[in-house]
């Protein structure tokens, strides 16, 4: 890291500025402040006041506007008898919104999300944490140098990314290495951990295994193959989960009172986040069922019971949509061969769609029957129906009959049919415009 210019200022016991050198003085002046008054940037004035009140040194990083650009400042305030001395380093420009400490924290999230397992070292590269993994005695490694866990190798360009990152105290990726205990080839990534003063406190690191089954090449997953399941899935879930959780907290006004409209925005953000999480679930399913070796288990299940459970799961959503789910036509048990969890997923999808497209006050009708060597559960709604031309299309990937309808990834029916077929059954549809739709899910009898 290049040497950072330091700027200093002094404040009296009341937190009023006594003197400031060039850069701090102009920052204060631009913000409308002057000697004899508190610092004009509230975040910095707060640090000064806190250091004085607590009687201890306080270090924090602060992002402030400096002219047209944001700068990240590493601020340290120290009580000095009858006042407070302020030292400010940093002045890193980040018009792109990239600040050193903030960036390090964000990088850490990516490292976490992207890794098969994790490690953490202190500034001397001694291990503070190692995930429990097979063949490695994690407990014995804590406190040992990182090089006892990994042998670092050069990358294609002949460099050692981690050592370069160490010199620059920045993040690194694509560091080839070998796990010494197992001989496994892995790729390391890491993000620097910086304290509030911007000082390097170690790396938070992730490990991606190399010997995992072949990824994108030749995989039929429409381009993302296994990578989605193992990488993007985690990479998306973690930040989305946080967005939803934080938006919920804001909407619930957990941190304090908030204007109604902002709480509503937060609810919208949470709803959109949940929608995206649902999409991630669908894509993970898609990735799984498109693998050539995908198989559903064949066990004895009761399709009528599965349908009734699915209806139960959706009863709250149905009540909210003012739709009734009529299960009286399900009748007796319908013993079939299939995988309980997958069959439930199919039924939830079919009934969920029916609820979504049903008008207020109408009913979704479930009927069950045995027909030769198959059992069938039909889900009928009285929505606007599906034109004959569209009936084949709705089972295709990313297809939605009415793109103006909110919600849905256009994957549900595609996944459901694939699942039904993997269990030896199928899904079919009968409908006409204005007549509602009737989806039939069949499975072989035991």
């Amino acid at each position: 890291m290049t040497a950072q210019p330091l700027a200093t200022a002094r404040f009296d016991a009341n937190g009023h500025l006594v003197e400031a050198d060039g850069r701090l003085s102009s920052l204060n002046a631009v913000a409308g402040g002057a000697p004899g008054a508190p610092f004009a940037i509230p975040a910095i004035a707060a640090i000064v006041r806190l250091a004085h009140r607590l009687g201890i040194a306080i270090a924090r990083h602060v992002t402030v506007a400096d002219g047209d650009e944001d700068v990240e400042l590493l601020v340290r305030a120290e009580p000095d008898g009858d006042g407070v001395t302020l030292t400010v380093a940093g002045w890193q420009l980040h018009a792109t919104g990239d600040a050193m400490v903030t960036r390090a924290r964000r990088n850490a999230d990516f490292v976490r999300a992207d890794a098969d397992w994790q490690w953490e070292v202190d500034a001397q590269l001694r291990l503070r944490f190692v995930s429990p993994i097979e063949g490695v005695d994690a407990a014995a490694l804590i406190g040992a140098p990182l090089t006892r866990l990994f042998t670092l190798a050069e990358d294609d360009g002949g460099g050692v990314p981690m050592l370069e990152a160490l010199a620059a105290q920045s993040a690194f990726d694509a560091q080839p290495a070998i796990v010494r205990a197992t001989g496994e080839r892995v790729v390391l990534s890491g993000s620097p951990m910086l304290d509030a003063g911007g000082r390097f406190g170690g790396f938070l690191g992730g490990v991606r295994t190399q010997d995992a089954p072949a990824r994108s090449e030749g995989s039929p997953g429409g381009g993302f193959g296994d990578i989605f399941g193992t990488r993007l899935d985690k990479a998306l879930r973690l930040p989305l989960g946080r967005i939803v959780a934080n938006a919920d907290s804001i909407a619930e006004r957990i941190e304090g009172p908030l204007a109604e409209q902002y709480a509503d925005y937060a609810s919208d953000i949470a709803a959109a986040g949940r929608h995206l999480l649902g999409l991630v679930d669908d894509l993970v399913d898609l990735q799984a069922i498109e693998r050539p070796d995908f198989e559903a288990r064949r066990e004895e299940i009761d399709l009528a019971d599965v349908a009734a459970r699915a209806a139960g799961l959706l009863s709250v959503r149905a009540a909210e949509a003012k739709v009734r789910i009529d299960r009286s036509g399900l009748g007796d048990a319908l013993p079939a061969s299939g995988e309980f969890r997958r069959a439930l997923q199919v039924m939830v999808n079919l009934i969920g769609n029916a609820v979504r497209y049903s008008p207020d006050g109408s009913a979704v009708v479930l009927t069950g029957e045995r027909d030769g060597d198959v059992v069938r559960v039909s889900v009928a709604d009285s929505g606007k129906g599906i034109a004959p031309d569209d009936q084949a299309r709705i089972f295709e990937k990313f297809t939605r009959v009415d793109p103006s309808e909110p919600g849905g990834s256009g994957l549900g029916l595609y996944i459901s049919r694939r699942l039904a077929r993997a269990m030896g059954g199928d899904i079919s549809v009968e409908s006409g415009p204005g007549e509602g739709a009737r989806f039939a899910f069949t499975l072989p009898v035991v």
Partner: protein, 365 residues
């Protein structure tokens, strides 16, 4: 909760008795759900768990249940094999049940001590994760606990190594890796016996199964020394370091700067003559007054209390640094003896303290 017993089969139509039994179960479940809903509705926002804690606590509870269940099954299966019941062993090993769901439904998971332990662990881990990295004077200095592993005093070095290992294991557990089931014995007992009974209910009756499951459960309950909970290793290290009253505030600050919250808790607990869980409660309480009083009772100076309070405020968004600063001078004006008297309760045995609170709540004591 989709257990095989609740699925009606074609050759076994649902009888009236069965239906009544199910209706009774459903009614009990509905009542419990309603109670939970009412509690949720009436609880004020401050008492509500945030999503991160809720998710982590749910995961932690499931992981602990899974670990204890695995221990029981493993031991019971071995016992069955040893006693020539290979079929039963296979059946027990292959059985899939939703143990967490069944325990929750039967009320076993509603034990306050168990939930307090889980929330304590998760709260501590999340607070530790958010503690600011504080490199103190020199950025090239090694963290406190790592330094202690090189101590000439073998007791200190061993205890520090054990704590590092337990700390890493706990962090992995909170991040969703399998748990080692490192619960205190009383809570292991609370879980192990009902689990054995649930497993027993899923097997055809045979005396050898009772023998295997009771053998397994009593072994799991008594398996002290196999797992080393973080709490116990931290207490051991605190005892081995044995800082005097003058050193204590510095070591506590250094432990927090090293983000080893568990050691800071153990050091204060040891100095107060209290237990780990009680001091963890003080550390996690966003209002904090009891912790400031406890530190005052230990004669911490103003700057030590200020620094510790500041770090905790930075780590926990619910705390207000300004409110803490307001309290600092009033706390320092209290005499050490008066502060000690105010927190004297912390020295009482845990169970006794709980009993006193319970009786007070019910207006008896």
């Amino acid at each position: 909760m989709y257990g095989p017993t609740s699925t009606p089969r074609a050759d076994d139509p649902v009888g009236a008795a069965d239906l009544f039994a199910r209706a009774a179960n459903a009614s009990a479940r509905a009542r419990r759900r309603r109670t939970a809903e009412v509690r949720d509705l009436l609880s004020d926002a401050e008492a509500r768990l945030d999503e991160r804690t809720r998710t982590a606590a749910g995961g932690c509870l499931t992981a602990l249940v899974g670990a204890v269940e695995a221990m029981i099954r493993e031991r019971a299966t071995a016992y069955l094999v040893e006693h020539g019941a290979a079929d039963a062993a296979r059946k027990l090993a292959a059985m899939t049940i939703d143990m967490t769901g069944l325990l929750a439904e039967s009320g076993i998971l509603s034990e306050t001590a168990l939930i307090e332990e889980v929330l304590g662990r998760v709260g501590e881990a999340l607070l530790a994760e958010h503690l600011p990295i504080d490199l103190g004077g020199a950025s090239d200095s090694t963290g406190l606990v790592l330094r202690l592993t090189a101590s000439k005093d073998a007791k200190v070095a061993d205890a520090a190594r054990a704590m590092l290992a337990a700390d890493a294991a706990r962090r992995a557990e909170i991040e969703g890796e399998p748990s080692s089931g490192d619960l205190p014995a009383a809570l292991r007992a609370h879980l192990a016996w009902p689990m054995a009974a649930i497993l027993r209910g899923r097997m055809a009756y045979d005396a050898v199964i009772d023998a295997a499951l009771s053998h397994a459960a009593s072994q799991v309950v008594g398996s002290i020394g196999e797992v080393h909970p973080l709490e116990a290793t931290a207490m051991r290290l605190a005892k081995a370091i044995a800082p005097d009253a003058h050193e204590l505030p510095l070591v506590v600050q250094e432990a927090l700067g090293d983000r080893r919250l568990s050691l800071a808790i153990a050091l204060i607990a040891r100095a107060l003559g209290s237990d780990y869980a009680a001091v963890r409660d003080l550390m996690l309480d966003p209002e904090g007054e009891r912790l400031w009083l406890a530190m005052r009772a230990l004669d911490f100076d103003r700057s030590a209390i200020a620094r510790i309070g500041y770090l905790l405020c930075e780590a926990d968004g619910r705390r207000s640094t300004e409110a803490f600063a307001d309290l600092l001078d009033p706390v320092m004006q209290i005499s050490v003896d008066a502060a000690a008297e105010a927190v004297a309760e912390l020295r009482l045995p845990h169970a006794y303290r709980d009993a006193l609170h319970l009786l007070q709540q019910r207006g008896v004591a």
